[in-house]
C-alpha cells in the first residue's frame, strides 16, 4: 500500500486569480513529519509558489494557525499521521486573503488594539522596584497570559463570521487578562470598551473558541466573566 498522503491546499492570489481553488500535492511523509514540515516539503521540492506563515515550529509564536483536516490547528504542532490520506488545508477565516494560506491579520490586530491591551496601573511606575503581587494574586492571570494570538479562536467563531465588528474571543480574553491583573487599575475603562453590544454580549456561547484553541485555553470563560462584571458595573451606577 502506498504511504503517500495528499495535501489539498487552498490557493488564491486575489490579484491574479478570479476565484480560489484547491491544489493537490502528493508525497510520502517521513516519520514524525508535521503539517508544517509537509508544507515546507511542498514549497521546497514540489511547488515554490505556495505561501504560508511559520516561525518557531514549536507552538509558541502563533504564526501558523490554519484550518487543517476539519479543525483550526497550528500546522507546526499537528502530526500528518492520524489525519488520514487526504488532508485539506485552508487559511484562517473571516479575514482577507493575501496569498494562499497567508491572511491579512489587520482586522484581528485592530480588535486586539481596541481593548487597550497594555497594563494601565493608574500611578507612575515605581521604577526602583517591582509592583508587589502575591503568588495568589499572580495566579489569577494564570492561563489567560498563555494566549499566543494565533487567531484560531476568532476564525472558528460563528459570530465573527456574521458580524465583523464583534471583538472576538482573543481580544476579549486579553482584556480579561488585564482586568484580573491586580497591578492594573483601569477595569472601568476597559469594561466600557468590552462589556458592549459588539463586545462580550455578542458572544452566543457556541464554545468553538474553546474547542479549537491550540493551547487549550478557554476564552469563553473570560467572556462570561466580562459579561458579569459589565452587568455589575451598570447596576452599581444605577444605585
Amino acid at each position: 500500500m502506498s504511504k503517500e498522503v495528499t495535501f489539498k491546499v487552498f490557493r488564491f492570489d486575489p490579484e491574479k486569480d478570479k476565484k480560489p481553488y484547491f491544489q493537490k500535492y502528493a508525497f510520502e511523509p517521513r516519520q514524525g513529519m508535521t503539517i508544517l514540515d509537509g508544507l515546507f516539503h511542498i514549497q521546497r521540492k514540489i511547488d515554490g509558489s505556495i505561501a504560508f506563515r511559520s516561525s518557531c515550529r514549536e507552538g509558541v509564536c502563533g504564526s501558523c494557525a490554519m484550518h487543517i483536516g476539519g479543525k483550526y490547528r497550528l500546522a507546526c504542532e499537528t502530526q500528518i499521521k492520524g489525519l488520514g490520506k487526504n488532508i485539506t488545508i485552508r487559511p484562517l477565516a473571516h479575514v482577507p486573503i493575501i496569498k494562499d494560506l497567508v491572511v491579512d491579520m489587520k482586522p484581528f490586530w485592530n480588535k486586539y488594539k481596541s481593548v487597550k491591551p497594555y497594563l494601565m496601573p493608574g500611578d507612575p511606575d515605581p521604577a526602583s522596584h517591582e509592583r508587589i503581587q502575591s503568588e495568589d494574586e499572580r495566579k489569577k492571570i494564570d492561563v489567560l497570559i498563555d494566549c499566543i494570538l494565533c487567531g484560531a479562536c476568532t476564525s472558528s467563531c460563528s459570530v465573527t463570521a456574521t458580524n465583523e465588528d464583534y471583538l472576538g474571543p482573543a481580544a476579549l480574553m486579553k482584556a480579561n487578562r488585564f482586568i484580573r491583573d491586580t497591578r492594573d487599575n483601569a477595569t472601568d475603562e476597559r469594561l466600557r470598551l468590552v462589556a458592549t453590544e459588539n463586545g462580550a454580549y455578542r458572544c452566543h456561547t457556541i464554545f468553538s473558541c474553546q474547542y479549537v484553541c491550540p493551547k487549550d485555553l478557554n476564552p469563553q470563560a473570560s467572556i462570561q466573566e466580562i459579561q458579569e462584571l459589565g452587568v455589575k458595573r451598570i447596576l452599581k451606577e444605577k444605585e
Binding site: 492570489d13 511559520s54 514549536e58 509564536c61 491579520m105 491591551p117 497594563l119 521604577a127 502575591s134 494574586e137
Partner: protein, 577 residues
C-alpha cells in the same frame, strides 16, 4: 522612499526595546521586521532572565559584581569586562522596568519577582515567569509598542511587519538607509534613516540540529557583514545540552535549575564522573554539560546506545512541573509523546546560540557611523566564548535600550543623513538586478539541497567537538556550496508578492557566508575555550589566543583579524565548577 530618523531592523526583544527607547526620547522611529514582532524567536526563550535582585532566600548576598564575575568566568575570560560590568549593573533596573510595564513574572513569597538557579551562577539569579519568560516579555513589549503607536499622532513610531531587509546602504562609512521588500505588496522600497539599529537575532538555521526558529537564518548578520561591518568571535557557537531528541526544541535550563537530573543508559547521573561538572552537576554551564553528554554518547552510554540521554524530572513531582515547567511538558508531550511527570525526556545537545555577531562596542555602536546592533545578532562581547543561561534575554533588553539611546544621542549631537538619493537608488538597483539574475538564472542547482548539505556539514563537523581535519573538510564543503549557490534555479519566478521561494533562497546566501565565517574562525583558533572545543588543541592558551577574532567580508570568504579583550576586573583563571 520612506524616511525615519531611526530605522530598527528586527522586531524581537532587542529591536522593540530599541524602538521604544527612541520613541520615549521623541525620535521618530520605524521598525522593520520580516515577521510580525510577536512571532519573533525571543518568544521561544523559556527559563528566565538574570539580575542580582536578591529576591531568593539563598540570593541575599548576590550583587552586580558577582553576576559580572560569573558571566566572565562563564565566558572563559573572553568577554570584555568593562562591558560585562555595565551589563550586569543595568540588569535589575531593566527587569524592573519590564515588570512595571506588565510582565507577569512568577512571584516569591514576598510578592517580588521569583528567581531560580541557573547554570554557572553563584546564586539563584534567574528571574522567571513559569517557563515562558521570553513569550511574556515579548508580548509585554509588543503591548507597549501598541500603546505608543496608539498615542503616535505624527508617525512617531511606525511598524513595518513582513518587510524583509535585503541590503544596508553605506556611504563613506556612514549608514544611510536600507532596501526592504514588502512581502504582501510584492514591492521593493528604499528607507532613508539617520541611524539604523540591527536587532535581527541568531542564525541557528545553518545547523540541522538547532533549537532556533525557522526564521533564524544567516541573513541578519550577513546584511551588516556585506555592508562592510566586521563580525566578531563567530567560532563561538553554543550547543544547548537539553534539546528535544529529533526536532531539537529547547528544554529550558530551568529544568535542571529546578532540580532535574541527566541520566545515561545505566541510569547514572553521569556528570559526577567528569571533573569539570562533578560539583555543580546539572547546573554546570552549557558548554561543559554539552561536552559531557556528547562524551557519554561517544562512549556508547547514550540511551540504547543511541545519540541521546534522559532528562529526568519525575522526582520534582506533578505540581512543580505543572506550575514551573508547563511549557516543557507541552513540548515533550506534543513532539515525543512523553509526559515528564511519569517518564524521562529524551534529549540531546543542539545548536542554540551564537556568541559571535556584528562587532559593536559597549554602546552598541558598530565601526560604521550611524549603525548600531543589539541582541543575538551583535557581539559586544558580554558572552565571550560561552554564554550563561538567562543572559541572552537580559542582553536584548539592556543593549536594546542602549542601542536606542546611542542612536538618539547620535542624532541629538547632529548625526544626520544628507542628500544621498543617488546612493540609495543605486543600492535599490543592485537589489533589483540580483533578484532579476536569480529569476533569469540558467543554472540548475537546487537551493534546497544546498541548504540541507550546509546544515548537515555544520552539525556533523562544526559541532561540540572540533578538529582540524573535520574543519578543513567543512570549509571546503562550504566553499563548494557557495560556488554552487551562484548557479541556483528557483521554482517561483512569477513576481515578488509573498514569493517565499525567493525569500528563503536569498537568505540562503546569508546562511552560506555566515557559515563560512564560523568554520574559518574555528579552524583558525588553535585552542579550546568555552564552546570551542578542539580535540587537537585541548587546552585554553591565554598566551596566544586571549583575543577576539574579527571577520571582514571579501567575495572569496572572510578576512580574519584580531581584537584586544578588555580585562581589568578579574584575572583569567582555570575554569571548573
Amino acid at each position: 522612499m520612506k524616511y525615519h530618523q531611526v530605522l530598527v531592523v528586527g522586531g524581537g526583544l532587542a529591536g522593540m526595546r530599541a524602538a521604544v527607547a527612541c520613541n520615549r526620547r521623541n525620535i521618530k522611529v520605524g521598525l522593520l521586521s520580516k515577521i510580525h514582532p510577536v512571532r519573533s524567536h525571543s518568544t521561544s526563550a523559556q527559563g528566565g532572565i538574570n539580575a542580582a535582585m536578591n529576591n531568593h532566600v539563598r540570593g541575599k548576598h548576590d550583587d552586580v559584581m558577582r553576576h559580572a564575575f560569573d558571566t566572565i568566568k562563564g565566558s572563559d575570560y573572553l568577554a570584555d569586562q568593562d562591558a560585562v560590568v555595565k551589563f550586569t549593573a543595568d540588569a535589575p533596573h531593566r527587569i524592573i522596568e519590564m515588570e512595571n510595564w506588565g510582565v507577569p513574572f512568577s512571584r516569591n513569597e514576598e510578592g517580588k519577582i521569583a528567581q531560580r538557579p541557573f547554570g554557572g551562577a553563584g546564586f539563584p539569579r534567574t528571574c522567571y515567569a513559569a517557563d515562558r519568560t521570553g513569550m511574556y516579555l515579548i508580548q509585554t513589549l509588543w503591548e507597549q509598542v501598541c500603546k505608543y503607536t496608539e498615542a503616535s499622532m505624527r508617525e512617531e513610531m511606525v511598524i513595518y511587519d513582513e518587510w524583509v531587509c535585503l541590503k544596508i546602504i553605506v556611504e563613506k562609512n556612514k549608514a544611510v538607509g536600507v532596501v526592504a521588500w514588502n512581502l504582501a505588496e510584492g514591492k521593493l522600497e528604499i528607507f532613508k534613516a539617520d541611524a539604523i539599529i540591527m536587532g535581527t537575532g541568531g542564525i541557528g538555521r545553518i545547523y540541522s540540529n538547532t533549537s532556533n526558529a525557522l526564521t533564524n537564518t544567516g541573513m541578519g548578520m550577513a546584511l551588516a557583514y556585506w555592508a562592510g561591518v566586521p563580525l566578531k568571535d563567530m567560532e563561538f557557537v553554543q550547543f544547548h545540552p537539553t534539546t528535544l531528541k529529533g526536532n531539537n526544541c529547547l528544554m529550558t535550563e530551568g529544568c535542571r535549575g529546578e532540580g532535574g537530573y541527566l541520566l545515561n543508559d545505566k541510569g547514572e547521573r553521569f556528570l559526577a564522573n567528569y571533573p569539570d561538572s562533578s560539583v555543580a552537576m546539572e547546573i554546570a554551564p552549557r558548554d561543559i554539560v554539552s561536552r559531557n553528554i556528547t562524551r557519554e554518547v561517544m562512549a556508547g552510554r547514550g540511551i540504547n546506545g543511541q545519540d541521546y540521554v534522559y532528562l529526568d524530572l519525575r522526582h520534582l513531582g506533578a505540581e512543580k512541573i505543572m506550575t514551573r515547567l508547563p511549557g516543557i511538558r507541552d513540548l515533550a508531550m506534543n513532539f515525543v509523546g512523553v509526559d515528564p511527570i511519569t517518564q524521562p525526556v529524551p534529549i540531546q545537545p543542539g545548536h542554540h546560540y551564537t556568541m559571535g555577531g556584528i562587532d559593536v562596542n559597549e554602546n552598541a555602536a558598530t565601526p560604521v557611523e550611524g549603525l548600531y546592533a543589539a541582541g543575538e545578532c551583535a557581539c559586544v562581547s558580554v558572552h565571550g566564548a560561552n554564554r550563561l543561561g538567562g543572559n541572552s534575554l537580559l542582553e536584548t533588553i539592556v543593549f536594546g535600550a542602549i542601542a536606542g539611546e546611542s542612536a538618539v544621542k547620535y542624532i541629538e549631537d547632529g548625526g544626520k543623513t544628507g542628500d544621498v538619493s543617488k546612493t540609495l537608488e543605486k543600492g535599490k538597483k543592485e537589489v533589483e538586478d540580483k533578484i532579476l539574475s536569480i529569476f533569469e538564472s540558467k543554472g540548475d542547482e537546487d537551493p534546497s539541497l544546498i541548504r540541507e548539505e550546509l546544515q548537515k556539514v555544520m552539525a556533523e563537523k562544526v559541532g561540540v567537538f572540533r578538529n582540524e581535519k573535520d574543519l578543513k573538510a567543512a570549509h571546503t564543503k562550504v566553499q563548494e556550496l557557495r560556488d554552487r549557490y551562484k548557479k541556483i534555479k528557483i521554482m517561483n519566478t512569477s513576481g515578488l508578492k509573498f514569493n517565499q521561494d525567493l525569500m528563503w533562497n536569498m537568505e540562503l546566501e546569508g546562511d552560506l557566508d555566515i557559515a563560512e565565517t564560523i568554520v574559518a574562525g574555528a579552524l583558525n583558533r588553535k585552542e579550546s575555550r568555552g564552546s570551542q572545543s578542539r580535540t587537537d588543541f585541548p587546552v585554553r592558551d591565554d598566551k596566544n589566543w586571549l583575543h577576539h577574532s574579527t571577520f571582514t567580508y571579501t567575495p572569496k570568504g572572510a578576512k580574519l583579524g584580531k581584537k584586544k579583550v578588555t580585562l581589568g576586573y578579574f584575572k583569567p583563571k582555570e575554569r571548573t565548577y
